[in-house]
């Protein structure tokens, strides 16, 4: 036998034998004799290392930057430079020591063999699958050359377009927009596919979107969870809801779907999709008729209550409300009166509800219900939708000046999306904004100049956007598509160049939430694996190459350190709001903003300075000053299709991880038993779900959690499967969104389909 397994094992695990062995090694002349390769002789061989693996954990502060209410504060444990595990930060009362299934899989995600590892060029053309590995320098030179060619040909950079969305909400990730700012006036896919109609609604009513601290919900006496499913999608909010419930609060879920949240509520009310606004108006009428409205608060703080009341008196018939919403009148009355009597009472509105052709008007109607009962501006009250009040960073990574002499767009200016808050005086030129919700069509139709280069970051358009076939055409006609991502996906398949991007554990950043009030530092915990780079480092490298080819053509710093970049985002305002003296305090753990109750001072940033039931702005922009009932889109096929979020993934993120696939391996369509019977479909059958837009084949699951006449499919991308529920969605707009985010939202849930067994 040429070796003894036991002996070597001992050597590896026993300190004394190992020390002796290393001493012998040093004496043997081995170290100076290695020919050298990727492994090198260890000249500083430490023969005293007593024992391998005894080094203790290093810990780092991180945050989950996903598009999730919870934005968890994370503590990461690293040993020998390798991430071992993470836990939710104990310091945050909101995260309180635990993440969700997705967060708990972060080690697996970071070390997934499926990560993109190197910059690659698709040499056989888009979709060919023939890839060549290239160096970062080569990749950036190719892109820089193309950009400069565009500028030379067109005289502007408008032929370069950026589509970026919610894959990473870290503040320095606005450096991606910063990169585009730094090369000139460019084209942006702008707007938001997510929550724009509701943002507009809340701004019309209250002059802001500003929700109360979710942790207050523990003291609410009545909670309506309206079209929101925190049991699946904001698990950290649940403890407050449970606590309130334990203390006797009523927790009512109003949802067309019997969700996990519904199963945990005091009362579940199944409502017909798209009629929520009418229910809210009916409830207000009942409350006002019973004189349970808060006249004092209304007198002091609102505008247009009289007009609202007139409208309710004249146009809202309770029998119709019951008929249209599908809820018995007695139940509506009981709900309205008990809500009005409980103080403080609060309503949390989900984002799905406003993805309708009447979505904005429904949010306005529900806001009004909260206001009429005097629950706006109250501790543990509020019309909750989201907030950006802790997002007042410097946006230093974003704010890059245009290169001197840049020429841009001279048409009407659009807005920049909900998070881009950096102002600036009106320039002679602007960027060109295309509607993110009509990406394929906008790219295909762009002219003067045509879009020739598209950069995709923090986004997977093929999994999330609409109209796949058009999107393929649009991508194919572009000279160059660059996809920066952590994993290979359907979008990368249609790229010319893919760039491997760092996870939050491989870079520094800072994170806040659009829901809770905590601030978390995100520290680099491990070396970036393989050749991945953070988005801002990619921008810096691009700048280096652009400036090499043409001095002054890009203003982005040519080398960046993500830590310095992060520090630059802090300002005295943030420090005051969070009660810290320096960002370094965040190394000790996340901190919470000083408590403020939104609108408690009665100041609203509306034109009148009051809560506006009657809004001239709304009249001007959307044709109705009052939150009037607007009928939802008429069916154009047999069944309504809704596509909510799954708890197993975040849009297309996480789903590709191997163990997630075990839990949730393939897409299904959920069908009500009555509908299934009519169509002779049984559990597990493969069905075709189709409409004028497209056709999907998937397995049927029969459940009365969905209403008759409605089918449900989760909106998520399944690895190795081109399933994308949005193939059935046309890009019909919701009513609002253009006011604050530049473009209306999409009426995703006003999609109609038919299905049959195959």
């Amino acid at each position: 036998m040429s070796y003894s397994k036991e002996k070597v094992d001992t050597l590896l695990h026993n300190g004394i034998s190992r020390r002796n062995f290393l001493k012998g090694l040093a004496a043997s002349g081995v170290l100076s004799s290695f020919p050298g390769g990727l492994l090198e002789a260890n000249e500083d061989l430490n023969t005293k290392i007593p024992y391998l693996g005894e080094k203790s954990y290093e810990t780092f502060r991180n945050a989950c930057p996903r598009n999730c209410y919870d934005t968890c504060s994370i503590k990461t444990f690293v040993k020998d430079g390798v991430m071992q595990f993470i836990e939710g930060a104990q310091e945050s009362t909101y995260t309180r020591g635990g993440c969700c299934v997705k967060g708990n899989s972060y080690v697996k995600r970071v070390y997934s063999a499926r990560r993109l590892k190197y910059p690659m060029l698709q040499v056989g053309g888009k979709g060919s699958g023939q890839w060549k590995r290239i160096s970062w320098d080569d990749a950036m030179e190719i892109i820089a050359k193309k950009l400069l060619e565009i500028k030379k040909d067109d005289g502007t950079m408008l032929g370069a377009a950026l589509t970026k969305y919610s894959g990473n909400f870290g503040i320095t990730h606005y450096g991606i927009e910063g990169m585009f700012n730094s090369i000139g006036y460019t084209t942006r896919l702008a707007g938001t596919p997510c929550w724009p109609a509701g943002i507009d609604a809340q701004n019309l009513d209250m002059g802001n979107m500003w929700c109360n601290d979710p942790e207050e919900m523990k003291d609410s006496k009545f909670i309506i969870l309206w079209g929101v499913n925190p049991a699946s999608n904001s698990v950290h909010s649940m403890k407050y809801i449970y606590e309130a419930k334990k203390k006797g609060a009523k927790v009512v879920v109003i949802d067309p779907v019997f969700t996990e949240m519904a199963s945990k509520s005091t009362q579940y009310i199944q409502i017909k999709t798209g009629t929520d606004g009418l229910l809210a108006l009916g409830m207000q009428k009942i409350i006002i008729d019973a004189k349970l409205h808060d006249q004092k608060w209304l007198d002091a703080n609102s505008k247009g209550f009289k007009e609202l009341k007139e409208y309710l008196d004249k146009d809202i018939k309770l029998d119709d409300v019951s008929k249209v919403t599908g809820i018995p009148l007695e139940m509506i009355k009981e709900l309205a009166l008990s809500f009005a009597k409980a103080k403080p009472a609060t309503i949390w509105m989900g984002y799905g509800m406003q993805r309708h052709t009447n979505g904005g008007s429904m949010i306005r109607a529900i806001d009004a219900l909260v206001a009429v009962t005097g629950n706006v501006g109250k501790y543990a009250g509020g019309a909750r939708y989201g907030h950006l009040s802790t997002w007042g960073f410097n946006y230093a990574a974003l704010s890059m000046p245009k290169p001197e002499g840049s020429v841009g767009y001279t048409g009407p200016e659009g807005a920049k999306g909900e998070f881009a808050q950096v102002g600036g005086e009106k320039a002679a030129y602007t960027d060109r904004f295309l509607n993110i919700n009509k990406t394929a069509r906008e790219l295909l139709n762009s002219k003067d100049p045509k879009v020739r280069l598209l950069w995709v970051a923090c986004k997977n358009p093929f999994a999330q956007d609409f109209d796949r076939n058009q999107l393929i055409r649009a991508f194919k006609q572009l000279d160059m598509v660059v996809v920066a991502d952590q994993f290979f996906n359907e979008t990368a398949k249609w790229a010319d160049i893919v760039l491997p991007v760092a996870t939050q554990f491989e870079e520094n950043d800072v994170n806040v939430s659009y829901w809770h009030y905590w601030l978390s530092l995100n520290e680099q915990a491990i070396k970036p694996i393989f050749e991945v780079k953070s988005d801002v480092q990619i921008a810096a490298l691009l700048s280096k190459h652009m400036n090499k080819l043409e001095k002054g053509s890009c203003t982005f710093p040519q080398s960046v350190d993500t830590k310095e970049m992060t520090i630059k985002e802090f300002n005295p305002g943030i420090y005051t709001q969070f009660g810290i003296k320096s960002w370094e305090e965040l190394k000790n753990g996340p901190v919470k903003a000083k408590a403020v109750i939104p609108y408690a001072d009665g100041k609203f940033q509306t034109p009148s300075g009051k809560y506006e039931f009657y809004s001239e702005k709304a009249l001007e922009l959307f044709g109705s000053a009052l939150p009037k009932y607007l009928e939802v889109r008429k069916p154009y096929d047999k069944f309504r299709m809704t596509s909510p979020h799954s708890r197993w993934s975040l849009h297309s993120q996480f789903q590709n991880l191997e163990w997630m696939e075990d839990v949730h391996p393939e897409p299904s369509v959920y069908i009500n038993p009555d509908d299934a019977k009519m169509k002779m479909v049984n559990e597990g059958d493969t069905v075709a779900v189709f409409n004028k837009q497209g056709l999907l084949r998937l397995k049927a699951k029969i459940t009365d959690n969905v209403q008759p006449g409605t089918v449900l499919m989760y909106e998520q991308w399944y690895n190795n499967n081109i399933y994308n529920v949005n193939e059935l969605v046309d890009d019909t707009s919701s009513d609002m969104g253009a006011f604050k985010t530049g473009a209306p939202g999409v009426a995703l849930h006003d999609t109609f389909v038919n299905f049959r067994k195959i």
Binding site: L38, A113, K132, R133, I134
Partner: protein, 190 residues
């Protein structure tokens, strides 16, 4: 057949050469370096740099899921993970052998190219420098690590029947022969 398993040990220089060539193939970073290393196998196969690399990437690199990921952890620990238990075991072995790895925590220590590099360097000090101090560790590394996963890796890569690449099959067969020769001429523990 060129890759027929030979009965006896290769001449030393050939054995060293083969480990070095295989290492160079699996650590190559561009088509040119890959082609030079591939040509050193003397396959007499005519293939362009570009197609060779495209096949190589499809088999081992990505960006799509490669046919066979070249890390031991995939075969020994978990189908989808790098930097896991076996990676750290290999790291401990390298440290005990007196190596440092400048790209540690960036490239998993158990990447096939790095492991072949270790093997080549260990052979080198024995064959060229006549130092036996690490011989036992090399045998251990071969029998208790390389032989546990590389055959599985080869098997998975060879099982690809969608557009199999002759060049990759050739590389894999050379790798297999090399391993078998190393194992046979040095004796397996009874």
């Amino acid at each position: 057949m060129k890759n027929k398993i030979e009965e006896n040990a290769l001449p030393l220089s050939k054995r060293l050469q083969m480990s070095k060539t295989l290492r160079d193939i699996f650590t190559s970073q561009d088509s040119h370096a890959l082609k030079i290393a591939f040509d050193a196998l003397k396959s007499k196969m005519a293939i362009s740099e570009e197609s060779l690399e495209s096949d190589f990437n499809r088999y081992f690199i990505g960006p799509l899921s490669p046919i066979a990921d070249p890390f031991s952890s995939i075969y020994l620990d978990n189908l989808d993970q790098v930097m896991s238990k076996s990676t750290l075991k290999v790291r401990a072995l390298y440290e005990t052998m007196g190596f440092t790895f400048p790209q540690q925590n960036q490239i998993p220590d158990d990447h096939i190219g790095i492991e072949l590099d270790a093997y080549y360097q260990l052979l080198y000090i024995e064959e060229v420098k006549n130092i036996d101090y690490l011989r036992e560790l090399r045998h251990y590394f071969l029998h208790e690590h390389l032989n546990l996963w590389i055959p599985l890796f080869i098997e998975r890569a060879l099982a690809c029947n969608e557009e199999p690449s002759t060049a990759m099959v050739y590389i894999l067969t050379q790798l297999k022969s090399f391993l078998i020769r190393e194992t046979n001429t040095q004796g397996v523990p009874a």
